[in-house]
Symmetry: C2
Subunit: 180 residues, 2 copies
DNA sequence: GTCTATATGTGGATAGAC
DNA sequence: GTCTATCCACATATAGAC
């Protein structure tokens, strides 16, 4: 577990990337295998079916979210600012895995839906340790999720819109935190 | 144009619904035809290809957004509140068409990406007529888009999370509008 | 562990009857 | 305008060689 085969990781990564960039339909076993540099049969040795592949991505998401929650809890700037700031970090491994599972969830894939609900709750719980007003906390979550929505889009207004405006956005968050 | 064939509307509606609920892969011509109550050949008479079907959904989105912008401009509560409030109206025709085009955009479909950029700009422009601080305006857009993100998810925390908390959310928006 | 070959199903699109 | 029948391409998954 601590040293998983390299091939498995490369396959997960390729599948997640294709889900994000091209959608669920384009993320076929064949295309994933090609991107990971293995054959179809080679992929199916590690993941016996497409469903197994999806579950592999979910597992990888949970692992990295667990790390992120620890960083979030101990962030000097506080969980809320940490959450919003890191929501703009498109292209990170967490970002890619999250969006990949989101794509699966959007097809009605139950395990993915449950995974995202769990992740959402975990983040909200962390924010509420800092932001006592539950409505302010929910609004901050919405801002972060709005950023994810934008990062899930190709095109100019998704990647980097908030690059240099991030400070201003964080000011808005500060106002929500401190306000009544 | 003012009286389009009933079949065409039913087909557009069926395709949009399937895109939202089941994703782009499940929204096949065959499944769309079945849901619309016509045969595959019957559908292909009205829309010669899947691409034509996608363009039909985009056209329908632009038509309904145009209506919405007029309502938004003349809303007594102001564009910002109107935008956030109506972002929670999952299941409306605008909502379904918007999410349908979003699904297409997420596959890299260029016409859909361009359509969403146009819609996004239109809404932001409206909000900025009321909210002069551009960062507050952007933050309000993020909240609305966070709501869309949530509404794009199946499961309990998407549909109706903000049903009775909407007033509190609108209070947060009010603070963003007036503050700074 | 990784490959090729193949069986089976399904999607997109055309042709042509009604 | 709507249908059925059909062709072709491709996706999933299995079998079995190396």
């Amino acid at each position: 577990m601590s040293r998983p085969p390299i091939a498995k990781e490369k396959i997960i990564d390729a599948y997640a990337s294709m889900l994000c960039d091209d959608g669920e339909r384009a993320a076929t076993i064949e295309a994933t295998a090609a991107k990971a540099g293995v054959s179809k049969g080679g992929l199916l040795y590690h993941f016996a079916s497409k469903e197994a592949l999806a579950l592999g991505v979910i597992e990888a998401l949970h692992a990295i979210v667990k790390q992120d929650l620890e960083l979030m809890a101990s962030a000097p700037e506080g969980p809320a600012r940490y959450f919003v700031r890191t929501s703009t970090l498109v292209g990170s491994e967490l970002d890619r895995l999250f969006l990949a599972v989101l794509r699966l969830a959007q097809t009605g894939h139950e395990p993915s839906i449950e995974a995202l609900e769990l992740v959402h709750s975990s983040w909200l719980d962390q924010i509420r340790t800092e932001v006592k007003d539950q409505y302010a906390a929910q609004t901050i979550m919405l801002i972060g999720e709005g950023l994810y929505y934008q990062s899930s889009m190709p095109g100019p207004w998704s990647r980097g819109t908030f690059g240099k405006d991030l400070d201003h956005l964080l000011d808005q968050v500060e106002r929500l935190k401190n306000g009544s």
